[in-house]
């Protein structure tokens, strides 16, 4: 109780203090506040992961009713992820934001918004009163918008911010709909009321769940609710893109899992729905990621892909719960939760390295970069590790969670009926394609950005950032590697959160036994791989020690004046892919050919666009606009007319109560007809 109060006190005092502080101390103070709050919430979270549950009841007010704060293992797992990413992210941010230190007021607002965002996310994980939950949700949406539009002098940034704000509020509408529905029927804002209501009325559970699912899916970025994501991520400062992709979209995943626990819908149906949406999200995200030229936008689309993978885990878990298959449920939810952590780790690392690149070169267009590995070796190695991890390639962490998903799928296959076998086949196909496409994407990204020759000359010196700035990145790397080679350890931590989903099903420890049985040799294999690679390096070193090595130019098939312009570009690297997947992609070409005796400058540029966004958002808006434009005559710019509208409005407001009875009678009369 005291810790929670301390949490709030720190939040309020620090955000009141920050505007009055000068110099770099603001950032440090904000970091300290986040550190203290992190410690406070981790104190509960760690205990929860060892099996204790906390429940605090605050009195609240007349409007909200009592405010229960419940911390269980699921909340704890997300709290840990949030805290870790916020700590590393804000530490990295301290250095990243130094460049902007002359924009004093902007920075102050930014720091305050960051602290509030952390508090809001923590709150969302633990608060179980729908009104306070919505307030926390709103704080999150609003502070994120503030954080995204840090570089608000750019139009694209402001547009991204507004886009995000609007879509967040669409999500809030769905949440409110669900909460008000229950509160109206049940008269309580406590989350337990939702459980009570839905168990009494099983016929509406699926509708109720889908309502909440839509809200949380917008936040998480499931296709087709993803369109805000590729705008907001590139617009935000790199360190915050990392936090956003690492934890903020995960709060959507948390919401979905929480609702699964609270609502208890028909798990099998829900499982299939989630599974299908997730496979589509995963494929669509990575398909669009490949054709992006902006490094951060590419990473943003990969977030959609990874949300899809997490969703596949949740879907499998739900189906396991639906069919009372303890092992399947365990594997599915463990994979989903572990991938949530994994994605938070490698995606934030990727965004931070993208931040390093942006700070050094001031561009994120991968077609302008190249050969950075020689100038920024540490950034390159960190990016490489994260890239391998995100492709789900051993020996790093991404493989562990994907392996669990595959294990779940193949286990499920043994018991499946015809329908579910087809679903499994579809999902396996999707997973494999996602993995392969991710590999295509990240070989492109790493190959073009870091390898080869520089494609553009920069006037500034390009070098790695100082060690302290890289420190959080190294810490993340340590976790990426250790999850890869000690998967058992992390799965043990996961046993409590998974237990929440599987506890009321029989054969309690089958899951633990199974994972132990599978993962022990698995981690040996990982060790074996690493040892084998090291052994091969040693052998290579010993043999090539005495041999003559010389340096020459790259073999150009007889051409001896290579230019950096003849290198394969990112666009040409994915050309055959692009042709193959053309039905799913939307590409605009902008070319001007060189012709004539005195030719002008020629150019060739491609722009990518999102087909789903085109059909789902742009076209309806255009249609709506054209509909509304018919009423444009009302807005004719003449003051007299506007006054007339005002008078009509006021008169009708006054008259409606007067004629209320008559109107009712009229409607009754109509009904009789």
């Amino acid at each position: 109780m005291i810790l929670i109060k301390a949490f709030i006190v720190i939040l309020v005092t620090v955000s009141a203090l920050i505007p009055f502080i000068k110099g770099n101390a603001k950032g440090i103070l904000a970091f300290t506040a986040i550190l203290l709050n992190t410690l406070a919430s981790s104190w509960f979270a760690v205990q929860c992961l060892w099996g204790e549950n906390f429940e605090f009841i605050f009195k609240g007010s007349y409007i909200t009713g009592i405010i229960p704060v419940r911390i269980d293992a699921l909340a704890a797992w997300f709290l840990i992820i949030i805290n870790f990413v916020f700590l590393t992210g804000s530490f990295y941010g301290l250095f990243y934001m130094k460049v902007y230190s002359n924009q004093k007021n902007n920075i102050k607002l930014h720091a305050v918004a960051l602290i509030w965002l952390h508090a809001a996310l923590t709150g969302i994980c633990v608060i179980q009163n729908s009104i306070v939950f919505l307030i926390a949700w709103e704080v999150m949406a609003f502070s994120t918008t503030l954080l995204v539009i840090f570089e608000h002098e750019k139009t694209a940034t402001i547009k991204a911010g507004i886009n995000y704000l609007i879509q967040s509020h669409v999500s809030i509408i769905f949440l409110m709909l669900g909460f008000i529905w229950v509160a109206f029927k049940q008269g309580s804002y406590d989350f337990n009321a939702i459980t009570v209501y839905t168990t009494q009325h099983p016929e509406i559970t699926i509708l109720m769940f889908l309502c909440f699912f839509a809200a949380f899916a917008i936040k998480a970025g499931f296709v087709p609710f993803h369109t805000w994501l590729p705008y907001a991520h590139p617009a935000a400062p790199a360190y915050f893109s990392g936090i956003m992709s690492g934890v903020m979209i995960k709060i959507g995943i948390y919401g979905i899992l929480r609702m699964l626990l609270i609502i208890k819908p028909d798990y099998t149906t829900i499982g299939y729905i989630i599974l299908i949406i997730s496979v589509i999200s995963g494929l669509y995200g990575v398909m669009l990621a490949i054709i992006q030229h902006n490094l951060k936008k590419l990473l943003a689309y990969h977030s959609i892909e990874n949300i899809g993978i997490i969703g596949i885990g949740i879907g499998i878990g739900c189906i396991g719960m639906g069919s009372a298959n303890q092992l399947l449920a365990g594997l599915g939810f463990a994979a989903a939760l572990l991938h949530t952590l994994n994605h938070a780790l490698f995606k934030s690392l990727l965004f931070y390295t993208a931040g390093n690149i942006y700070q050094a070169t001031h561009t994120l267009n991968i077609e302008q970069l190249g050969g950075l590995i020689k100038k920024m070796p540490q950034t390159a190695v960190l990016f490489l590790i994260a890239a391998i991890a995100i492709c789900g390639i051993p020996p790093f962490n991404g493989f562990v969670s994907e392996f669990l998903i595959y294990s779940g799928l193949y286990h499920w296959l043994q018991l499946a009926s015809l329908f579910s076998s087809i679903a499994i086949g579809f999902t396996i196909l999707g997973m494999v394609m996602i993995g392969g496409l991710a590999m295509l994407c990240f070989t492109k990204a790493f190959g073009v950005v870091f390898l080869g020759n520089p494609r553009m000359e920069f006037h500034q010196v390009i070098k790695d950032p100082p060690f302290l700035q890289l420190l959080p990145l190294y810490i993340i790397t340590v976790f990426i590697v250790s999850i890869g080679i000690f998967p058992m350890l992390f799965l043990q931590l996961l046993s409590r959160p998974v237990l929440l989903f599987t506890a009321d099903l029989p054969l309690q420890h089958a899951f633990q036994l199974k994972t132990a049985e599978v993962l022990q040799p698995f981690s040996w294999a990982m060790w074996g791989l690493i040892l084998l690679i090291l052994a091969m390096f040693t052998i290579r070193k010993i043999i090539t020690r005495k041999q003559k090595q010389s340096i020459a130019t790259t073999w150009g098939c007889g051409y001896i004046v290579p230019s950096s312009k003849i290198q394969y570009t990112a666009n040409s690297f994915v050309r055959s892919y692009r042709k193959l997947f053309r039905p799913f992609l939307l590409l605009y070409k902008n070319t001007r050919e060189i012709k004539g005796i005195f030719p002008d400058k020629g150019y060739y540029a491609t722009h990518t666009y999102d087909k789903i966004e085109e059909w789902l958002i742009d076209r309806p808006i255009r249609a709506f606009k054209s509909l509304l434009s018919r009423f444009l005559f009302l807005q004719n710019g003449k003051l007299q007319f506007y006054i007339l509208y005002g008078i009509i409005f006021i008169v009708s407001i006054i008259c409606i109560p007067l004629f209320y009875e008559k109107i009712i009678q009229f409607i009754a009369f109509l009904n009789q007809l």
Binding site: L413, V432, L532, M536, T553, Y577, L580
Partner: protein, 301 residues
């Protein structure tokens, strides 16, 4: 352990047999069966030339590529006898470990800054992505058929008896053979003997490798052939006792090598643009196996 040694022995002869078959088919005498191995040993003794564009990625990539193939080899069982590493879901590990090698070989091609190698890298990334679903669906249907999820358990439980299983075994052999051809960039997909860099896939990626590194890459290629050969062997030997399986292993490996040689002699390479369709068609063959497995298990009602 047995499988490791057997695959190793098979790898020594495999490529030699392919080359010999090809030369005999075209009416030449051809080099000795051990010539590929002699080439590699010669390369191991040679010094290396590195491009000035390259970074350390180029130096570590061949080693990681080779290690990944050796690691994959450790997973492959021999009939009822487990591979060095065996756990349920080990075929997923098998496929992903090969992906690690591919990842690095693609990067090392990008590292040279050559447009040709970039082209090869791009094709390799795309084609290996398209080939992978076929393998996973194939293994999935075998897992479905046998009720197990590790290589060794699947293969030792695989009984070929009824007509449908014969059909499935033939289809599975076809899929594995074609995956082997794609993984090794062989004929219908890629022509290792072509002299035009624009039309190569694998060969163009290793244009700049030399000396020890090139030797490693070539050895890895030989091993990969033998590994896929061993997987095909495993489809058939599950139930036989020890004494028959080892000769059977070599007979099947031998005939696979000759088949590959014959395919390479009498078939032209596809147009690059058609490769993708062909490779993805393999997935539909795998799906056929999948439905065959469902049919056998009587789930189609």
């Amino acid at each position: 352990m047995l499988s490791f040694i057997l695959i190793f022995i098979a790898a020594v002869f495999f490529t030699g047999i392919i080359v010999r078959t090809k030369s005999m088919a075209s009416g030449r005498k051809g080099p000795g069966i051990l010539q590929p191995i002699k080439d590699v040993i010669r390369l191991f003794r040679k010094g290396a030339v590195y491009s000035q564009t390259t970074s350390f990625i180029f130096q570590i990539a061949p080693t990681i590529y080779f290690s990944s193939v050796v690691m994959a080899m450790l997973v492959v069982p021999f009939g009822q006898y487990k591979g060095f590493i065996s756990f349920s879901g080990d075929f997923i590990f098998f496929a992903y470990i090969l992906a690690l090698g591919k990842f690095f070989s693609i990067l090392s091609a990008m590292d040279t800054g050559s447009s040709f190698e970039g082209m090869g890298a791009s094709r390799e990334a795309l084609y290996s992505m398209l080939a992978e679903p076929a393998f996973f669906i194939l293994m999935g249907s075998l897992a479905l058929l046998t009720g197990h999820t590790s290589f060794q358990e699947i293969f030792s439980a695989l009984h070929i008896g009824s007509y449908i299983t014969y059909a499935l075994a033939i289809l599975a052999t076809f899929v594995l053979l074609m995956i082997a051809m794609i993984e090794n960039s062989r004929m219908p997909i890629d022509d290792p003997k072509t002299h035009l860099e624009l039309t190569m896939i694998h060969e163009v990626m290793i244009l700049d490798n030399s000396g020890f590194d090139l030797g490693l890459i070539l050895t890895a290629g030989y091993l990969k052939f033998a590994i896929y050969g061993a997987l095909i062997v495993n489809l058939f030997i599950g139930v036989f006792p020890y004494g028959y399986t080892i000769p059977l292993f070599f007979i099947i490996q031998f005939s696979v090598a000759i088949t590959i040689g014959l395919i390479e002699s009498f078939m032209a390479r596809f147009r690059m643009g058609h490769n993708a369709q062909f490779i993805f068609a393999l997935t539909s063959v795998s799906l056929l196996i999948f439905f065959g497995a469902l049919l056998i298990l009587g789930k189609f009602i």
